[in-house]
Protein backbone atom coordinates (compact mmCIF):
# COMPACT_ATOMS: atom_id res chain seq x y z
CA UNK A 1 0.00 0.00 0.00
CA UNK A 2 1.51 3.27 -1.06
CA UNK A 3 0.85 6.64 0.51
CA UNK A 4 0.93 9.81 -1.52
CA UNK A 5 1.18 13.43 -0.40
CA UNK A 6 -0.28 16.38 -2.29
CA UNK A 7 0.36 20.00 -1.45
CA UNK A 8 -2.54 22.02 -2.88
CA UNK A 9 -2.09 24.99 -0.54
CA UNK A 10 -2.96 28.29 -2.18
CA UNK A 11 -4.78 26.62 -5.05
CA UNK A 12 -8.29 27.80 -5.82
CA UNK A 13 -11.28 25.73 -6.85
CA UNK A 14 -11.22 23.46 -8.86
CA UNK A 15 -7.39 23.11 -8.55
CA UNK A 16 -7.32 20.84 -5.47
CA UNK A 17 -9.76 18.23 -6.80
CA UNK A 18 -8.11 18.28 -10.24
CA UNK A 19 -4.76 17.55 -8.55
CA UNK A 20 -6.34 14.94 -6.32
CA UNK A 21 -7.99 13.22 -9.26
CA UNK A 22 -4.70 12.97 -11.19
CA UNK A 23 -3.12 11.20 -8.21
CA UNK A 24 -6.22 9.07 -7.67
CA UNK A 25 -6.00 7.78 -11.24
CA UNK A 26 -2.40 6.66 -10.67
CA UNK A 27 -3.11 5.08 -7.28
CA UNK A 28 -4.00 1.44 -6.72
CA UNK A 29 -6.97 0.28 -4.62
CA UNK A 30 -6.03 0.49 -0.95
CA UNK A 31 -3.53 3.31 -1.48
CA UNK A 32 -3.76 6.40 0.70
CA UNK A 33 -3.62 10.00 -0.48
CA UNK A 34 -3.04 12.90 1.89
CA UNK A 35 -3.88 16.34 0.54
CA UNK A 36 -3.38 19.77 2.11
CA UNK A 37 -5.66 22.56 0.93
CA UNK A 38 -6.35 26.18 1.93
CA UNK A 39 -9.49 26.67 -0.19
CA UNK A 40 -12.25 26.66 2.44
CA UNK A 41 -14.82 25.20 0.04
CA UNK A 42 -12.76 22.01 0.02
CA UNK A 43 -14.19 20.87 3.37
CA UNK A 44 -17.56 20.26 1.72
CA UNK A 45 -16.19 19.44 -1.72
CA UNK A 46 -14.10 16.54 -0.51
CA UNK A 47 -17.22 14.83 0.87
CA UNK A 48 -18.94 15.06 -2.51
CA UNK A 49 -15.76 13.99 -4.32
CA UNK A 50 -15.32 10.90 -2.13
CA UNK A 51 -18.96 9.92 -2.51
CA UNK A 52 -18.72 10.24 -6.28
CA UNK A 53 -15.43 8.38 -6.72
CA UNK A 54 -16.22 5.78 -4.07
CA UNK A 55 -13.18 6.71 -1.97
CA UNK A 56 -13.11 6.55 1.80
CA UNK A 57 -12.46 9.75 3.73
CA UNK A 58 -10.27 8.39 6.52
CA UNK A 59 -9.56 11.71 8.17
CA UNK A 60 -10.43 15.39 7.74
CA UNK A 61 -8.69 17.94 9.92
CA UNK A 62 -8.12 21.68 9.94
CA UNK A 63 -5.19 23.47 11.47
CA UNK A 64 -4.49 27.20 11.01
CA UNK A 65 -6.73 27.37 7.90
CA UNK A 66 -4.98 24.40 6.34
CA UNK A 67 -7.40 21.56 5.66
CA UNK A 68 -5.89 18.10 5.52
CA UNK A 69 -7.78 15.16 4.11
CA UNK A 70 -6.65 11.55 4.12
CA UNK A 71 -8.33 9.49 1.45
CA UNK A 72 -8.28 5.78 0.73
CA UNK A 73 -8.95 4.54 -2.77
CA UNK A 74 -11.33 1.60 -2.84
Amino acid sequence: MAEYEINARGMQCPGPIVKLFSQYKLAAPGDLIRIEVTDQGFKKDILAWCKKTGCELVELTENNSVITALIKKN
Partner: protein
Protein backbone atom coordinates in the same frame (compact mmCIF):
# COMPACT_ATOMS: atom_id res chain seq x y z
CA UNK B 1 -14.80 3.79 -8.30
CA UNK B 2 -18.26 5.31 -7.94
CA UNK B 3 -20.55 5.62 -10.89
CA UNK B 4 -19.42 7.61 -13.90
CA UNK B 5 -22.01 9.94 -15.29
CA UNK B 6 -22.05 12.38 -18.13
CA UNK B 7 -22.36 16.15 -18.32
CA UNK B 8 -22.67 18.53 -21.25
CA UNK B 9 -22.17 22.28 -21.49
CA UNK B 10 -23.22 24.54 -24.34
CA UNK B 11 -20.71 27.37 -24.45
CA UNK B 12 -22.66 30.12 -26.23
CA UNK B 13 -21.12 33.15 -24.55
CA UNK B 14 -17.75 34.65 -25.39
CA UNK B 15 -17.53 36.58 -22.11
CA UNK B 16 -14.52 35.90 -19.89
CA UNK B 17 -16.50 35.38 -16.68
CA UNK B 18 -19.02 33.03 -18.26
CA UNK B 19 -16.33 31.07 -20.08
CA UNK B 20 -14.44 30.67 -16.79
CA UNK B 21 -17.56 29.47 -15.01
CA UNK B 22 -18.10 26.90 -17.75
CA UNK B 23 -14.51 25.64 -17.67
CA UNK B 24 -14.44 25.47 -13.86
CA UNK B 25 -17.55 23.28 -13.94
CA UNK B 26 -16.09 21.16 -16.75
CA UNK B 27 -12.79 20.67 -14.90
CA UNK B 28 -14.60 19.89 -11.66
CA UNK B 29 -16.87 17.34 -13.30
CA UNK B 30 -13.96 15.66 -15.06
CA UNK B 31 -12.06 15.59 -11.74
CA UNK B 32 -14.98 13.69 -10.24
CA UNK B 33 -14.64 11.07 -12.95
CA UNK B 34 -17.41 12.30 -15.23
CA UNK B 35 -17.43 12.29 -18.99
CA UNK B 36 -17.78 15.90 -20.13
CA UNK B 37 -18.67 17.35 -23.52
CA UNK B 38 -18.49 21.08 -24.24
CA UNK B 39 -20.26 22.32 -27.34
CA UNK B 40 -19.01 25.71 -28.56
CA UNK B 41 -21.38 27.80 -30.61
CA UNK B 42 -21.71 31.46 -31.70
CA UNK B 43 -19.70 33.82 -29.45
CA UNK B 44 -18.39 30.84 -27.50
CA UNK B 45 -16.21 29.94 -30.51
CA UNK B 46 -14.03 32.96 -29.74
CA UNK B 47 -12.82 31.18 -26.57
CA UNK B 48 -11.19 28.60 -28.83
CA UNK B 49 -9.48 30.96 -31.27
CA UNK B 50 -5.71 30.90 -31.45
CA UNK B 51 -4.23 34.18 -30.15
CA UNK B 52 -2.23 34.87 -33.30
CA UNK B 53 -3.63 36.01 -36.63
CA UNK B 54 -3.90 33.05 -39.00
CA UNK B 55 -3.83 33.87 -42.71
CA UNK B 56 -6.95 32.28 -44.18
CA UNK B 57 -9.11 33.20 -47.15
CA UNK B 58 -12.26 35.07 -46.09
CA UNK B 59 -15.01 37.17 -47.61
CA UNK B 60 -15.24 40.86 -46.71
CA UNK B 61 -17.91 40.42 -44.02
CA UNK B 62 -16.16 37.35 -42.60
CA UNK B 63 -12.89 39.25 -42.38
CA UNK B 64 -14.61 42.18 -40.64
CA UNK B 65 -16.28 39.87 -38.17
CA UNK B 66 -13.03 38.11 -37.51
CA UNK B 67 -11.29 41.40 -36.80
CA UNK B 68 -13.98 42.69 -34.43
CA UNK B 69 -14.22 39.57 -32.31
CA UNK B 70 -11.67 38.67 -29.62
CA UNK B 71 -8.90 36.30 -30.71
CA UNK B 72 -8.86 33.67 -28.00
CA UNK B 73 -9.24 33.08 -24.28
CA UNK B 74 -6.66 35.74 -23.38
CA UNK B 75 -8.62 38.58 -24.98
CA UNK B 76 -12.20 38.10 -23.81
CA UNK B 77 -14.13 40.84 -22.03
CA UNK B 78 -16.40 40.69 -19.00
CA UNK B 79 -20.19 40.31 -19.27
CA UNK B 80 -20.58 43.11 -16.72
CA UNK B 81 -18.39 46.10 -15.83
CA UNK B 82 -16.11 45.56 -18.81
CA UNK B 83 -15.48 49.32 -19.27
CA UNK B 84 -14.05 48.87 -22.74
CA UNK B 85 -11.71 46.12 -21.61
CA UNK B 86 -10.40 47.81 -18.45
CA UNK B 87 -12.75 45.71 -16.29
CA UNK B 88 -11.38 42.53 -17.78
CA UNK B 89 -7.79 43.71 -17.17
CA UNK B 90 -8.63 44.41 -13.52
CA UNK B 91 -10.42 41.10 -13.12
CA UNK B 92 -7.43 39.23 -14.58
CA UNK B 93 -5.15 41.00 -12.13
CA UNK B 94 -7.37 40.21 -9.13
CA UNK B 95 -7.63 36.57 -10.16
CA UNK B 96 -3.88 36.34 -10.67
CA UNK B 97 -3.25 37.82 -7.20
CA UNK B 98 -5.65 35.32 -5.68
CA UNK B 99 -4.07 32.49 -7.63
CA UNK B 100 -7.17 31.55 -9.58
CA UNK B 101 -6.28 29.56 -12.69
CA UNK B 102 -6.41 31.61 -15.88
CA UNK B 103 -8.83 30.67 -18.64
CA UNK B 104 -6.05 29.33 -20.91
CA UNK B 105 -4.84 27.19 -17.96
CA UNK B 106 -8.36 25.89 -17.38
CA UNK B 107 -8.65 24.98 -21.07
CA UNK B 108 -5.35 23.06 -20.98
CA UNK B 109 -6.39 21.29 -17.79
CA UNK B 110 -9.78 20.34 -19.29
CA UNK B 111 -8.01 18.85 -22.30
CA UNK B 112 -5.67 16.86 -20.07
CA UNK B 113 -8.64 15.51 -18.13
CA UNK B 114 -10.19 14.30 -21.37
CA UNK B 115 -13.00 16.84 -21.69
CA UNK B 116 -14.38 16.60 -25.19
CA UNK B 117 -14.64 19.96 -26.97
CA UNK B 118 -16.85 20.26 -30.00
CA UNK B 119 -17.00 23.31 -32.27
CA UNK B 120 -20.32 23.99 -34.00
CA UNK B 121 -19.64 23.98 -37.75
CA UNK B 122 -22.73 26.03 -38.57
CA UNK B 123 -21.64 28.86 -36.25
CA UNK B 124 -18.13 28.65 -37.67
CA UNK B 125 -19.55 29.11 -41.14
CA UNK B 126 -21.77 32.03 -40.11
CA UNK B 127 -18.97 33.82 -38.31
CA UNK B 128 -16.36 32.99 -40.90
CA UNK B 129 -14.13 31.15 -38.45
CA UNK B 130 -11.93 28.52 -40.10
CA UNK B 131 -10.59 25.35 -38.48
CA UNK B 132 -7.00 26.62 -38.74
CA UNK B 133 -7.92 29.58 -36.52
CA UNK B 134 -9.01 27.37 -33.64
CA UNK B 135 -6.84 25.59 -31.09
CA UNK B 136 -5.92 21.93 -31.60
CA UNK B 137 -7.74 18.94 -30.22
CA UNK B 138 -11.29 19.91 -31.16
CA UNK B 139 -14.04 17.94 -32.81
CA UNK B 140 -16.26 19.54 -35.44
CA UNK B 141 -19.95 18.71 -35.50
CA UNK B 142 -23.53 19.95 -35.43
CA UNK B 143 -26.52 20.04 -33.13
CA UNK B 144 -27.36 16.33 -33.54
CA UNK B 145 -24.02 15.40 -32.00
CA UNK B 146 -24.72 17.66 -29.05
CA UNK B 147 -28.26 16.28 -28.60
CA UNK B 148 -26.97 12.72 -28.79
CA UNK B 149 -24.57 13.47 -25.94
CA UNK B 150 -27.21 15.44 -23.99
CA UNK B 151 -29.61 12.48 -24.08
CA UNK B 152 -27.06 10.40 -22.19
CA UNK B 153 -26.14 13.15 -19.73
CA UNK B 154 -27.60 13.93 -16.33
CA UNK B 155 -26.65 17.61 -16.46
CA UNK B 156 -26.85 19.89 -19.49
CA UNK B 157 -25.91 23.55 -19.09
CA UNK B 158 -26.30 26.52 -21.41
CA UNK B 159 -23.71 29.19 -20.68
Amino acid sequence: MGQTSKKTLIMFSGDLDKAMAGFIIANGAAAMGDEVTMFFTFWGLNILRKPERIPVKKGLLEALFGRMMPRGAGRLGLSKMNFGGMGAVMMRKIMKDKRVNTLPELITSAKELGVKMVACTMSMDVMGIKREELIDGLEFAGVATYLGEADEAGVNLFI
